[in-house]
């Protein structure tokens, strides 16, 4: 009888793993307000930027840039939309600096200024148009804000998302303040967004596809090769980052190829396809700490599922890695642009044209903010030589925390191959040997046997409760274990 009950319990708790996030409870901590868009504007958001004076700039895929006033309130009925620039070519990145609004559009990085004070851009300077474009719609260019040196980083999608017919497709390039283009990182496939972390290191999101078994967030180190060799023919055109790396062998694993190819940089966090993300996009970092307890963590837009994810990274042996968590769902369109304001407002803009999105609306502009009620979440996971340290946003209940049955861990990865995407492979179940709750009850040290270098380690925590007996708001985290620390 006991066996049956236990197996029933296990069945129930396993099936509860399939539960999605708790959307109703997400709104208890992070309410979303939809910002009304005038009827005559087809917004299809490509980029958002925070402007001085409580304004934001929003760019559309149709090439228009609007300045929006009144987007910051909880009741934005009186928002004003000012058409600031019209007719650019698919703007997928905005950055405000020293009185100029910079836009990364398909053919170039442009900077614009309103010279005569009529609230519309009069000067459009082409900062750099150095890369090739041939008319293929896939040849997108996503651009970042300025880095500490004043450079804008641009990631260039491959032709047809799998080929390279125009110079520097599949590359990340930096555009300097004086308009030079510096090839920076190779190996890009189909980016969805780009942004910096609190240390000024640049990251971008790539989509499941050729040489990308699943979507992920990847770092952009200068001189690195982030995995897709299709654009590597363009090493011929530049000396900027040295010799062309060896081509990876198709059908292998990233960790295997890394051993042979020193330039190869693994994804910082993989997003399991169909579970967490299908198409990750814009990246924002909460450096102010005003967006809840997740200071210095990254937030990533998700187009297909109309959600925003959270990514908590660390560096082990000099390599970026960490965990991805579900964060907030129920956005109205396919999220592309994500930007955090100085007051902790998160602006999210979306479009579903060309690629469907769960949200349902053709386009939307929304504001999500932290209402002060701290959610009970896994704050971050830290890799250890023999397991993981799991840190929470508040103290947990000792009993559930020290019970290994409160946790379940799966490990798997994806084939690193020239074909499109990959099924989940190399599955295993690392065993949790013990769970030690810390003194302040805010973290647990999980001793685990069977860690696999290079795999995603999916940790489910259905049994964890806080001191009030509440379960975690989100009960799963996906840690990409590129490196296992020595000590």
């Amino acid at each position: 009888m006991k066996k049956i009950i236990y197996s029933l319990l296990i069945t129930i708790s396993v099936s509860s793993l399939a539960l999605s996030q708790n959307p109703q409870e997400e709104s208890d901590h992070y309410p979303i307000v939809e910002i009304p868009i005038p009827d005559n504007i087809v917004l299809e958001v490509g980029g958002i930027e925070i402007l001085p004076g409580k304004r934001i700039a929003v760019s559309s895929r149709r090439g228009d840039i609007y300045v929006v006033e009144g987007a910051y309130t909880d009741d934005p009925g009186d928002d004003k939309w000012i058409p600031w620039a019209i007719g650019l070519h698919e703007v997928l990145g905005l950055a405000w600096k020293d009185g100029w609004l910079y836009a990364t559009q398909r053919p170039e990085v442009t900077r614009m200024k309103d010279e005569d004070g009529d609230f519309r851009a009069d000067i459009f300077e082409s900062v750099s148009s150095a890369w090739g474009i041939n008319g293929d719609y896939h040849e997108y260019a996503f651009g970042s804000r300025h880095d500490p040196d004043g450079n804008i980083w641009v990631v260039l999608c491959l032709t047809g998302s799998g080929g390279a017919s125009s110079d520097f497709r599949g590359w990340c390039v930096r555009v300097t303040p004086d308009g030079k283009m510096l090839p920076t990182t190779s190996g890009i496939r189909s980016p969805g967004g780009i942004g910096q972390n609190h240390l000024g290191d640049m990251f971008y999101c790539d989509n499941q596809g050729v040489w990308n078994g699943t979507s992920s967030i990847k770092p952009l180190p200068v001189g690195g090769f982030v995995g897709n060799p299709t654009g590597n023919k363009y090493y011929e055109l530049t000396d900027a980052i040295g010799k062309r790396p060896e081509d990876p062998k198709s059908g292998s694993r990233i960790s295997t190829e890394r051993a042979k190819i020193p330039e190869l940089v693994p994804p910082a966090a993989m997003f399991p396809h169909g579970k967490l993300s299908n198409s990750p996009t814009g990246i924002a970092c909460d450096t102010s700490g005003k967006f809840g307890p997740f200071t210095n963590q990254l937030f990533v837009g998700e187009q297909t599922m109309s959600t925003v994810l959270r990514v908590a990274l660390e560096k082990v042996n000099g390599v970026y890695q960490g965990a991805a968590f579900p964060f907030r769902g129920k956005f109205k369109s396919g999220n592309v642009a994500v930007r955090l304001g100085p007051d902790g407002s998160m602006f999210v803009g979306g479009t579903d044209r060309g690629w469907g999105a769960r949200g349902g609306k053709r386009f939307a502009l929304e504001r999500c903010h932290f209402n002060g009620k701290k959610p009970f979440e896994v704050l971050q996971m830290k890799a250890k030589p023999d397991g993981f340290e799991v840190i929470f946003t508040e103290p947990i209940e000792e009993k559930s925390g020290s019970d290994i049955a409160s946790y379940k861990m799966d490990s798997y990865t994806y084939i690193y191959q020239s074909g499109y995407g990959s099924p989940v492979v190399d599955k295993s179940n690392p065993t949790i040997k013990s769970a030690s709750v810390s003194q302040d009850k805010k973290s647990v040290y999980l001793k685990i046997e069977g860690l696999v270098k290079g795999n995603v380690h999916e940790l489910n925590l259905p049994g964890i409760k806080n001191v009030e007996g509440k379960a975690l708001l989100h009960q799963v985290g996906y840690y990409t274990l590129n490196e296992i620390p020595e000590n």
Partner: protein, 603 residues
């Protein structure tokens, strides 16, 4: 010259047919001729063939009379007539014959507008019905040129009459001899190649103020001629029996086409238009009338479209088989109240496109087939996207007034200019937006390919293609090459000035629209400002084509579709290179700058 009998039959057959619908002012007027057999014949001269004069009586009878049988006075009169109407030696067969009549007792031509095709041979018969002498002089296009020539004629003084009041003046293009009262004078000339408006005027002292018109040289030949309208006032629910109503007046239609601009009436009126239409070939023709309220269209006095009744603007079509040649056309129209509109168009057997016979376009129910046409309103509309013919870094600009341009920012050139509708964004704004979109509208003219500036040290040196940026290429790593710098918007209409650098030079290229799509003076002016330390042997390549011709007014005709005029320090140079002709403008620097001003006209 054929057999007299054949000619006689020709005239007997020809004139009555052509006489249908023609107004009675065609009659050349009467002079009394004295036949040697004692008869007095009241008739006007139609033509002189061999040793016979063809006379036409006021009641329309035509016949030949042997010259030898007429009085000495008559023969002298005829000799003068021959002089005034002779075909110039070597002229050959005219392509088009036009007749202009002077109105009796008024100093006016019966036609304020004539239209001719560029470069065609024209026979223009001036039939003088008046009691005074008149002539017809055609001047160069440009405001006031007709008056200048007429004023010069005054100065001829006592010599004027003998010189037919034709002065020497650089603005005079062609002039007929004086037509005697009730006689005629014929002007044979070749229409200018350059399209535009050319004034014509009677240069006899004191006549020019009122006796003038405009010759439009255009590729768009109006198939309608002799178009008049009769205005009726009244309230009807259906087209009335016009014969039962007293007309308010009849006049020539100033625009030469079917539209309501000929009247200021807004409600309770009717118009009957009558004229001729020239069918270019035999076959089926489809006419369309769109009107508010009712209308009817008749060809050769038979109803082709009946679109009667009180209704809003809506089209109706009808098909008719026509033989090549001239046909009578009549459009009847009435307006009850509210909105009023009239449009007529036709499709000839050759063309799939409908050609308007009205000045206004056919009112469309929305844009082009399920399109998303972009348009400039009070300000220029910019559209950066993949534009067919302008490359992957194309910048489309739709200007107010229906002029449009596509700039190629890969090679810093104006790739295309066109008229009418700007561009359809539907392709790029739906789904994933794949591909290149061509211009909408019409009359696309292409700018020269390649980069605009280069240093050419010897006349055989080819225009370099080392600076050319291929579409999918990175910025060419050429020292001293081209760098696109963007654009700025200025003026009430916020039109762009494109900026780029070429080596050490900074260049600003500002095209400006002139006129509007519907006006015949539609054009682009363009100013190109160059700044920097002088570069030797620098040229601007303004055109590349199969033919480049310098015509009058310092205008260069490129492949018969574009006309360019320049204001620059140095004179343009035409050269042959690589199987093409090129028009190069040498750049002259002064104070570290240079300027080219260019006007681009459609032909």
């Amino acid at each position: 010259m054929g057999n007299i009998k054949t000619l006689f039959f020709f005239y007997v057959l020809f004139i009555p047919i052509a006489g249908i619908g023609q107004d009675k002012t065609e009659d050349p007027g009467a002079r009394t001729w004295s036949h040697s057999d004692g008869r007095k014949i009241k008739a006007g001269i139609v033509d002189v063939v061999d040793k016979n004069v063809i006379l036409k009586t006021p009641n329309g009878k035509i016949g030949p009379v042997k010259l030898a049988k007429l009085s000495k006075e008559d023969q002298e009169y005829i000799a003068i007539w021959i002089q005034n109407n002779a075909v110039p030696k070597g002229f050959g067969k005219p392509d088009t014959t036009i007749e202009i009549t002077t109105l009796k007792g008024e100093m006016k031509y019966n036609k304020p507008i004539i239209t001719v095709y560029p470069g065609k041979k024209i026979k223009l018969i001036l039939r003088n019905q008046d009691d005074m002498h008149h002539n017809l002089a055609i001047t160069k296009s440009g405001k006031g040129k007709d008056m200048k020539v007429a004023q010069e004629a005054w100065k001829l003084g006592v010599d004027g009459f003998a010189k037919h009041w034709i002065p020497k003046h650089p603005d005079l293009l062609f002039a007929s001899k004086m037509a005697d009262p009730h006689s005629s004078s014929t002007l044979y000339f070749t229409a200018p190649k350059r399209t535009g408006k050319y004034p014509y005027v009677c240069t006899l002292p004191g006549h020019a103020q009122v006796m003038r018109g405009t010759m439009i040289v255009s590729k768009e030949v109006n198939p309608l001629s002799e178009l008049t309208f009769t205005l009726f006032k009244g309230s009807w629910k259906k087209i009335p029996d016009w014969n039962q109503i007293e007309p308010s007046g009849t006049d020539h239609v100033p625009s030469g086409k079917f539209d309501l601009s000929c009247t200021k009436e807004k409600d309770s009126f009717g118009i009957v238009f009558r004229g001729n239409i020239e069918a270019p070939k035999s076959g089926d023709y489809i006419f369309t009338v769109s009107s508010d309220d009712g209308s009817r269209l008749l060809i050769d006095r038979k109803i082709v479209i009946d679109h009667d009744g009180i209704h809003g603007d809506s089209p109706k079509s009808g098909k008719v088989k026509l033989e090549k040649g001239s046909h009578h056309i009549e459009v009847q129209y009435f307006e009850g109240g509210g909105e009023e509109s009239l449009y007529v168009g036709w499709k000839t057997p050759d063309f799939k496109k409908e050609i308007p016979l009205s000045v206004n376009r056919r009112p469309s129910g929305g844009n082009s087939p399920s399109g998303q046409l972009l348009a400039a309103e009070e300000e220029a509309r910019i559209y950066r996207n993949f534009i067919q013919g302008a490359g992957s870094r194309a910048i489309g600009v739709g200007y107010p007034g229906g002029l449009n341009l596509a700039y190629d920012a890969n090679n810093m050139r104006i790739a295309m200019l066109w008229l009418g509708d700007f561009i359809d964004a539907k392709r790029h704004w739906n789904g994933r937006g794949q591909g290149y979109q061509p211009p909408a509208g019409e009359s696309v003219i292409n700018g020269p390919p390649g980069v605009p500036f280069a240093t050419i040290s010897d006349s055989n040196e080819s225009w370099p293609d080392s600076f050319i940026r291929k579409e999918n290429a990175q910025l060419p790593p050429i020292k001293g090459g081209y760098l696109f710098k963007g654009y700025k918007l200025t003026g009430k209409e916020r039109i762009p000035t494109f900026r780029y650098t070429f080596g050490t030079l900074s260049i600003e290229d500002m095209p400006s629209p002139q006129g509007s799509f519907e006006s015949s003076d539609v054009a682009f002016t363009r100013s190109i400002k160059i700044k920097g330390k002088p570069v030797k042997n620098l040229y601007f390549r303004a055109a590349v084509g199969q033919s480049i011709e310098l015509t009058d007014n310092n205008t260069y005709l490129i492949d018969d579709n574009t006309a360019l005029t320049f204001k620059s320090e140095k004179k343009p140079v035409i050269r042959e290179n690589g199987g093409n002709k090129e028009l190069l403008i040498p750049i002259q620097f002064s104070n570290d700058s240079a300027l080219i001003e260019q006007t681009i006209n459609w032909q």
